[in-house]
Symmetry: C2
Subunit: 437 residues, 2 copies
């Protein structure tokens, strides 16, 4: 039986997912990010020390473990993201890594959400991060959206729009406004899309010590949005001054302007973006697919200056994470992606009689030697049934052994003589092709 | 801190692992296996109903779950292999799949081993299986070793030797010998390599109701090994007759002879191979790397006729699983694999001055457009330091913007004029290359 929150795709969907991952990974490598995987588990202490997601952790117990085992800090839990484990890995292996360290990581993560919420409890994330010792140059914050734009831009999906903000803008603004519990303000503003401005305003007054005028200014800031540096003027008009605000605005301008230079239309400064997790300290990213805005962010991240540290050593980082399962779940739900066949196979070698299996296997081996995905028919059924085997899977070619051999394109019906040592399918037919709706 | 049993590789090792997975996956697809992933968890009931590994299951608990939650059959545990979840998936989705269904699955699995045993508790498996409704033709049993031989044969690792046996041979032989608890005999013989023949013989007498002569015959059978059909004569000489034995011998001959035809030297009939798990019903496989026999099997599997069933429907299957983590752990431990660089990057674009970053990013974009993995230097340090950045990672080329641009092979010191729109590195330098010891 299906288990709520643990999605499983059908083979054709998994084929699409695999192509999507291939594209993402190839792009990450094109930008020089090295592959990394971390173990799926962390000590509970590590998981609880970062962010707000701690409440959703899955703990592990050995079925045959000691019955007296009580929950403890060194108990193991499944990681809920890839950033916290990565930060732990960097500190643990700092002596063996070269910095700045650019890595990508494509792995499952788990969140012990309440089943009734209908959210994923197991899902695939594809992350890139850059970390450095002591200080990380800001230009890496401007690179993240470009990599994502390149990765997603090569897929047959709606265009991505990356919304960028900077925690320093928000915190500086709130502080300049006279609000001291800036974390609480940020957490409240983060709920804007869920509960609306009126309720956010009330909550700011109730929980963050804001006056109605201060709450209103926070909402004014959150309403600012621009595809270029013009957001700076809009912020200035609100009449709040603070050095941290200035620093944040300058950084945000660099992200937006770099994207305008290299990928026009990709990035927008959106000053309501906050990101719930506690560990971000500067730039934050969220990403929507055009036409799918209502489904929320499919790619998020930000700058974290204090996530990884060990004694006096500090490893600031910036990263962004594509929610692969989330994105595909939405697109599958809208039937927005399809694939040209449900198997990798390009050629089915028909089997005239079971005693010719060795000869048919030789034909298949010859085609495979030239990297043409090939299967031999499961049994020496009537050729009509063998063609049906191919047709039901979308395999485009059926190969008939003979003198000479012939190969039939079962879509057009064309059948031509062919030699397994030299025949080549059109490039478009070699592998399954994913296309948009 | 490292957690015992949860291995983590360094970036260069992960790069090797990634190339190994790529080769395995490409081979699986070349043979027409479709990609599939199943969720990481199964109900405890599903996990406990199959095989002997149930005792090593990790159960999940939500950190914020109801405190009154008692362990129950619908409690979730992490899967301990990929075969049991696959069988469940096939039954669950039978109406949406086309049979025979060929799939590959490359995923982590978990076993709640006792920490002190020093065995992996999280590891990566790469499986292929074929399942069908009602009956599965035997020739699929002969295909499995060929796919594995092809996948591993393309890697710079010691040659694989696949040891094959057939449960029907063992069970038929034991039965023909007059032993009724054939499962217990099989489980005991399976311990041969661990505890030696004298102790196996004692155990057969103590726990399987065997006479010393019967125990001796079981050991004689287990001692038979051949790379061709000659093992049949050796079995016949032991003077035991049983119809199931005949059936098993005929099947085993087909596996060995098919491999001799298509991949000489790959497969050996080894009549001591039993496989601990309960669900195999015919052919069983284990695999050793030549020179690494002492490290045990890196690739195992077999035929299971009764694993997946639903009411009257039955889905027999055959499959084999490469223990990727296990294999790499052994090879890494022996320093038997290396990679030409620790990052995917082929070209580092040097940065003469920070205000030229936009121009350098344009050069990088131009190279990437032609699929050349490229990074831009992290800062406008002295060129010597920028070259060191490349050198420490094994990046072979440094690109210097100028009039004209030049590109330097930092291994040879050769520096030549180059145009980012047309320059191409030698094919061998484009991607990291994995090589053997």
């Amino acid at each position: 039986m299906p288990i709520s929150g643990f999605p499983e795709w059908l083979p054709a969907q998994r084929m699409i997912e695999q192509r999507v991952i291939d594209r993402i990974r190839a792009t990450f490598e094109l930008y020089g990010f090295a592959p990394l995987e971390t173990r799926s588990v962390e000590p509970l202490e590590t998981l609880l020390s970062k962010g707000e997601t701690s409440k959703e952790v899955y703990l592990l117990h050995r079925l045959q473990g000691d019955p007296g085992d009580a929950p403890s800090d060194d108990q193991l839990g499944l990681h809920f993201d890839l950033t916290v484990p990565f930060a732990r890995y960097v500190v643990e292996n700092a002596g063996k890594l070269v910095f700045p360290f650019r890595r990508y990581q494509i792995q499952k993560v788990w969140r012990g959400e309440r089943p009734q919420e209908g959210r994923y409890r197991e899902f695939l994330q594809a992350d890139i991060d850059v970390v450095n010792r002591d200080n990380l140059p800001f230009h890496y914050d401007t690179e993240m959206p470009l990599v994502i734009g390149d990765a997603l831009g090569g897929l047959p999906i709606p265009a991505a729009r990356i919304q960028v903000n900077n925690r320093k803008v928000c915190e500086g603004f709130y502080r300049g406004l006279g609000l001291s519990d800036t974390d609480q303000v940020l957490r409240t503003v983060d709920k804007l899309d869920k509960i609306g401005p009126a309720r956010v305003s009330e909550l700011l007054v109730e929980t963050a010590g804001a006056s109605p005028a201060q709450a209103s200014a926070c909402l004014d800031l959150a309403a600012i949005s621009a595809e270029d540096a013009s957001f700076v003027d809009a912020v200035r008009k609100l009449g709040v001054a603070d050095p941290l605000l200035d620093e944040g605005l300058e950084e945000l301008v660099r992200v937006v302007e770099t994207a305008r230079e290299h990928a026009p239309g990709l990035v927008v400064a959106e000053l309501k973006i906050a990101r719930g997790l506690d560990y971000y300290t500067g730039t934050v990213y969220e990403t929507q697919l055009r036409g799918y805005e209502r489904f929320g962010s499919v790619c998020s991240g930000g700058r974290y200056d204090n996530l990884a540290s060990s004694g006096k050593e500090r490893f600031p980082g910036v990263g962004i994470s594509i929610g692969v399962s989330r994105m595909l779940g939405v697109l599958f739900g809208q039937r927005a992606l399809s694939v040209s066949r449900s198997v990798p196979t390009c050629v089915l070698v028909a089997l005239p009689h079971e005693d010719q299996r060795v000869a048919c296997d030789r034909i298949a081996a010859s085609l495979r030697r030239r990297r043409i995905p090939t299967e031999v028919a499961p049994s020496a059924a009537k050729f009509g049934k063998q063609i049906q085997y191919a047709d039901r899977r979308g395999i485009p070619y059926v190969w008939f052994p003979g003198s000479p051999d012939t190969v039939k394109d079962i879509r057009s019906g064309d059948q031509v003589p062919a030699d397994a040592a030299t025949w080549q399918p059109p490039a478009d037919d070699l592998h399954p092709v994913v296309s948009g709706a």
